[in-house]
């Protein structure tokens, strides 16, 4: 990464978001890009888009329970967590499977959760990614506690929490930002402003000019960034992460993006937005601008694209296969993870549930 993070110590908190790579694939003046590095970011975005498409298709086939696509938000998904270091925490939402995967949460586990298997919430031992928060907003305070604990331990690790603009209306957003500001915790608040909370447009969530400017009220640094520009997203997140790691406290990043798909596969966006608006954001696609830059620089061609998509497709298929091939848990397994130690009441209920199931299926 050759751009200077310090340019972004605190940008403008409203108006035009910070950008490095414009939609035509041109760098803003003064930036240099390492081609291999950008190819890796692009590759990750292709991989998660492949996952997202596959998961959406599987849901439509009835192989997954509800799914919430991040289509259109790939630069946020990758650019944010690409700025983290080993052992840093990620606490995100049900729409952050791309970021979770980048941090080591396996696709197999991500698929498992969506098929209705509790093991989906169980990442590998060395993965410091919380299972996604399904309720909106509660996990932001968790990130404050996670990062505060790391600060107490002197581990040098930080926490990043991802949430949408809708979550900023929740009381826990205020409590999380307030705690982080007061106690100077090493927390990065990463808001993906994707314009809609199910059907509710951004204007319904806040009368502020921006979400980024809310940082000021909590005594922290704010950033407003183009969320479809993976380089800009990574630069501001790296600046925020560096501040956190250096003991300079928390930051709030607002990344302007767009949820190109529905809220979940059960939602119909035509009821609340226009096709003209969708077309506008199709033109602003986060992968296209990177491809344009790489193509101009002679770092992209069709065969490579095909190779990437095929490799991602195989990896995703393999993960699906592994998830579906995993021996099924005994249906009563959910009784075993309520407490650490067996509880007589739950043991009795587990036996009764098994009998009920037996009768119900006879």
């Amino acid at each position: 990464m050759k751009g200077s993070a310090h340019v972004f110590d605190q940008g403008s908190l409203s108006g035009d978001p910070l950008s490095i790579l414009d939609q035509a694939g041109r760098l803003v003046a003064g930036y240099e890009v390492d081609g291999d590095d950008l190819r890796r970011l692009y590759e990750s975005m292709v991989w998660i888009r492949t996952y997202d498409r596959k998961a959406t298709a599987m849901q439509l086939q009835g192989r997954l329970a509800t799914y919430s696509p991040f289509f259109g938000q790939e630069a946020c998904q990758i650019g944010s967590v690409a700025a983290l270091a080993d052992g840093d925490w990620l606490a995100g939402t049900y729409r952050d499977a791309g970021a979770m995967w980048f941090r080591g949460y396996s696709w197999e586990r991500l698929f498992l959760g969506r098929t209705g298997d509790e093991r989906g919430g169980q990442p590998a031992e060395d993965v410091t990614v919380m299972p996604p928060s399904i309720t909106v907003g509660g996990h932001m305070v968790h990130a404050v506690g996670l990062s505060w604990a790391e600060k107490m331990k002197g581990s040098g690790k930080i926490a990043l929490t991802m949430f949408g603009e809708g979550a900023t209306s929740e009381g826990d957003f205020h409590e999380a930002m307030n705690f982080a500001g007061v106690f100077h915790t090493p927390t990065v608040f990463f808001c993906q402003n994707n314009q809609y909370a199910i059907s509710a447009p951004r204007e319904i969530q806040t009368a502020s000019d921006s979400i980024a400017q809310k940082a000021l009220a909590y005594g922290m640094v704010g950033y407003l960034v183009n969320g479809n520009d993976v380089l800009a997203v990574r630069e501001v997140t790296a600046a925020a992460a560096e501040r956190a790691r250096n003991g300079d406290g928390p930051s709030l990043i607002e990344a302007i993006t767009y949820r190109r798909g529905p809220h979940t596969t059960a939602d119909d966006p035509t009821k609340y937005r226009t096709s003209q608006e969708e077309d506008l954001w199709t033109e602003r696609d986060p992968l296209e601008r990177v491809r344009a830059y790489l193509a101009d620089a002679g770092l992209w061609d069709e065969p490579w694209q095909t190779e990437l998509e095929e490799a991602a497709g195989v990896a995703v298929e393999t993960a699906v296969g592994a998830a579906e091939a995993l021996p099924k848990l005994d249906a009563g397994n959910f009784f075993d993870a309520v407490f650490e130690n067996p509880n007589p009441t739950l043991s009795d209920e587990k036996a009764a549930a098994a009998r009920r199931l037996e009768l119900g299926e006879a």
Partner: protein, 321 residues
């Protein structure tokens, strides 16, 4: 009891550097009930943390700390102020073990002073433990004696799962006894038989134990031998001790100051009739607070069960009915 709790907190903080205490006014002021008196001076402001007035944040932040390896103890001042934290407790604290299949856990203690009889303002006298009992993945304990207060607190801190630790406000300074100075734990999930008897089983917990034991004395004077069980732990519940006693006595009264509908008395009654129906001589009696809002000072004596009232109801409804 206040001193026993203070002693327990001190031992927890000195015995394990992962332990920390957080809440409104727990540091400089030593807690609104002085339960954490002097602890900030002894352990520093980084381990005895004065929090902003934000109950959801306190519990949610402590949850994050617990997941990352700390052992937080939080104080929520009054049960009537605990409800903003309810979402964090029911949606995250109690279920992260389940959500992650043991990968992440939240070993933490949520201290909630509760109960009436203190002549306080609205919201300061409530006994709404039922809303916590209904949450899977949460343990709920209530000491009635100073010795148990310390032992249960230390057991709660050691517990691998989250524990809601209810502290009877009325007993903080009214119940005193000699408490061992060393570190000890009282097992969570074991009731205590405070008094043995043969004719009736009186079941209670927390602040109402004093009234219940007083009623047992009155009943003894009237020729009725009451066995008194102090539940100590509401979840997990010591069903065996309850059932053994009911089989012996054949009569049961549950005493609590919480509202009757949806109260723990109903749960105990159901368990007793499931497990010891043919030992019962009479229906299970509930002596409880009312299904009204907890009244202000002038009327609270009308709300709380008292010694004579408990004894009277037990005698007339279980022996003369």
């Amino acid at each position: 009891m206040a001193r026993a709790l203070n002693d327990g907190l001190r031992l927890a903080l000195s015995g394990d550097e992962r332990v920390l205490l957080m809440g409104e006014d727990v540091g400089r002021a030593g807690g609104v009930f002085r339960i954490s008196d002097k602890l900030r001076g002894e352990f520093g402001e980084e381990r005895v943390i004065d929090a902003p007035v934000a109950e959801s944040g306190i519990v949610g932040v402590a949850f994050g700390m617990a997941v990352a390896g700390m052992r937080p103890i939080v104080e929520l001042q009054f049960m009537g102020f605990s409800y903003p934290a309810y979402d964090q407790i029911i949606s995250h604290v109690s279920r992260i073990r389940h959500r992650s299949r043991h990968r992440f856990t939240a070993p933490m203690v949520i201290r909630i002073p509760y109960g009436g009889g203190i002549g306080a303002a609205e919201h300061h006298s409530e006994s709404m433990e039922s809303i916590y009992l209904h949450i899977p993945g949460l343990k709920v304990v209530v000491p009635s004696t100073p010795v148990d207060a310390k032992g249960l607190l230390l057991a709660a801190v050691e517990d691998p799962d989250p524990v809601v630790f209810l502290e009877p406000i009325r007993s903080y300074r009214s119940i005193t006894e000699v408490v061992p100075g060393d570190y000890y734990t009282t097992p969570i999930g074991e009731a205590a038989v405070r008094r043995e008897g043969t004719d009736v089983t009186l079941i209670s917990y927390g602040a109402m134990m004093r009234e219940t034991l007083g009623a047992a004395d009155v009943l003894e004077g009237r020729g009725i031998s009451a066995e008194v069980i102090d539940l100590r732990s509401l979840v997990p519940l010591d069903v065996d001790t309850i059932v053994a006693s009911v089989i012996k006595t054949g009569r049961v009264a549950v005493v609590h100051e919480a509202p009757r509908t949806g109260g723990f008395g109903g749960e105990i009654a159901a368990i007793v009739q499931e497990k010891a129906f043919f030992s019962l001589e009479m229906p299970v009696l509930r002596v409880t607070g009312w299904d009204s809002v907890f009244p202000l000072k002038r009327s609270e004596r009308l709300y709380l069960p008292n010694v004579a009232g408990i004894a009277e109801e037990v005698q007339t409804r279980l022996f003369e009915g």
